[in-house]
Symmetry: C2
Amino acid sequence: MSLTKPTDFTIGILGGGQLAKMTAIEARKLGLNVVCLDPHENAPASMVSYHIVGSVNDKEKLHKLNALSNVITYEIEHINTDILKEALPQDKVFPSIQVLETLQDKYKQRTFFQKFNIPMPKFKEVKSLQDLKDCIPCVQKAKVGGYDGRGVVVLKKEEDLEKAIKEPSYIEEMVEIEKELAVIVVRNLNKDVKVYPVVEMVFNPDGNLLDYLISPADIDEFTSKEAQDIAITAVESLNGVGVFGVELFLDKKGRVLLNEVAPRTHNSGHYTIEACETSQFEQLVRVLTNLPLGSTYQYLQASTVNLLGEFGYKGKPIYENLDKVLSIDGVYVHIYGKRETFPLRKMGHITILDSNRERLLEKTVKVKNLIKVKGEVKI
Amino acid sequence: MSLTKPTDFTIGILGGGQLAKMTAIEARKLGLNVVCLDPHENAPASMVSYHIVGSVNDKEKLHKLNALSNVITYEIEHINTDILKEALPQDKVFPSIQVLETLQDKYKQRTFFQKFNIPMPKFKEVKSLQDLKDCIPCVQKAKVGGYDGRGVVVLKKEEDLEKAIKEPSYIEEMVEIEKELAVIVVRNLNKDVKVYPVVEMVFNPDGNLLDYLISPADIDEFTSKEAQDIAITAVESLNGVGVFGVELFLDKKGRVLLNEVAPRTHNSGHYTIEACETSQFEQLVRVLTNLPLGSTYQYLQASTVNLLGEFGYKGKPIYENLDKVLSIDGVYVHIYGKRETFPLRKMGHITILDSNRERLLEKTVKVKNLIKVKGEVKI
């Protein structure tokens, strides 16, 4: 049955951060109702949706969300799936709770994809200190709870063992990374699949921090096709229904390897709002309402600069040089509306469009150097 | 002073319809707060903003709105400006209450623009029945309250006098219309001006109903420039600050004539959301927050089909063939979220993009024929 009464249809979202906010905006454009469940009073999505204040692990609040929703999705992965299974009807949740369970434990995720022969770095569970010693040089990763580079440690020599992760973890071969890539894949209940262009994540050589994302990636078309195919295969092997952010490595030997899959809209797909025929958020809404998937055609080359809280500040955020960046053509500022900043907190992002690659890069650097998220309190 | 703390800044909007909703969405993207004042419990903008339920002519409610807002705008013109002047600080309202006053009375508007030598159809106030008799054939227009073709009567012969408007009115020469055009003009406190491409309003030959809008209009570049220049002159002569929808006629002699100016975002500018570098709604937000105006560059040709309630239905709206129209590439559906339909009520709009004019027209006709807004109750 296809949607004919959007004003009677409600999308429930576990979590009320920026991903929920941007999804809700697309849902609102179609006249749909949205309710989010988030513990923070001023969660970004609360601007544009009905907000239940509470934890995503609180059964009573989950019941309330369920009572209001025709369909439920989530924008975060750190949810207790046992509680979800008890509190929510499983056929109402997309991507399925089973998919979430497979993906939220990164080791489980690796073993799952291994069965489908998806190319990945070699990996092995850590059962003892000896396992770690034997593998050096290698990368150690926490099974759960990693996010934005946290939960990952590079072990190059014996002394690095001091900073080894104590929680359940696994080790991976040290991949000689040429580029880090990402692909958004959308898949619906009819098993239709749409894939977006490959994005390149450009890191600052000084630190391990993401500098900007650029789409399409600066890779040849065979590599691009290979990355998209791996991403699609990963989502299909999960029988995933929803929007998936797939991160990959291109190594120095030219191999494309799956890094990880997130069962949700993804930072690497934010550029699709302005640059593509259908955004990743609209696609999610289409999946959840059983409307046909949209074209992923990219109109113009795009980059994304994340707005992270500067070091040395907390408290109410101050966005410096908003006026200067908005005076540049083809610049789209997204401020999530978080009431407090702290170092490296994701406070917003800026998408930059241009038909010319060189100009796009120039504008990106200019924007990156201008915009600063400071705070009212120095720390 | 330029905006640095969007989460501390609130835009107040008189009216909570679709124009307020689309403005609020752009404001939310920038992390701003929005409050609207509208008498309807489920007003479209209430989905994405804080909503004060009440009349825009209710002083107490206006005080409440004012207390919450850093700046105030309006999405409707039928507001009692005497009450506004008493209830609101005049320097906080954009466009100014004076501009609203000049424009909401169509006769006052005409006499104002006449002083600036802006080309218009010849017009004259109606003071007696004789005035009407003498002018036939002519067009009679109500001074206030006209909207979407209401408040306009064509008097071709003596018998038509039966349907003449009884309220205060004026008459206009019968212009032999070749095309109806519209232009969006944006102007800020620094007197910077941006103008969008000229849009053509295509009417159904069977009735007087707007069939679709297309941008850019199918006119030569001189006519286009003339229309834009007239629109800019009109807004500058008002010293207008805000977004203005300017409607014009191109007559069979090739004259471009001003029809009317609305001191707000306009149906003819909805296409800018998807087709232009900066949408009319984002421009309004930029004006209200004193951020620099954005580029009006149009990426792709666009058409807009309005979703009007079908004749014969009322009650809860049913949107037929949503799935079919969304399976066409480059189609963007906006459903305002009104809880009740009635014949000709504006329930939403659809923007269609294409780089090829012929394909754009084909898609437009296809969408127009597919989508229907029916209702749960037959009348």
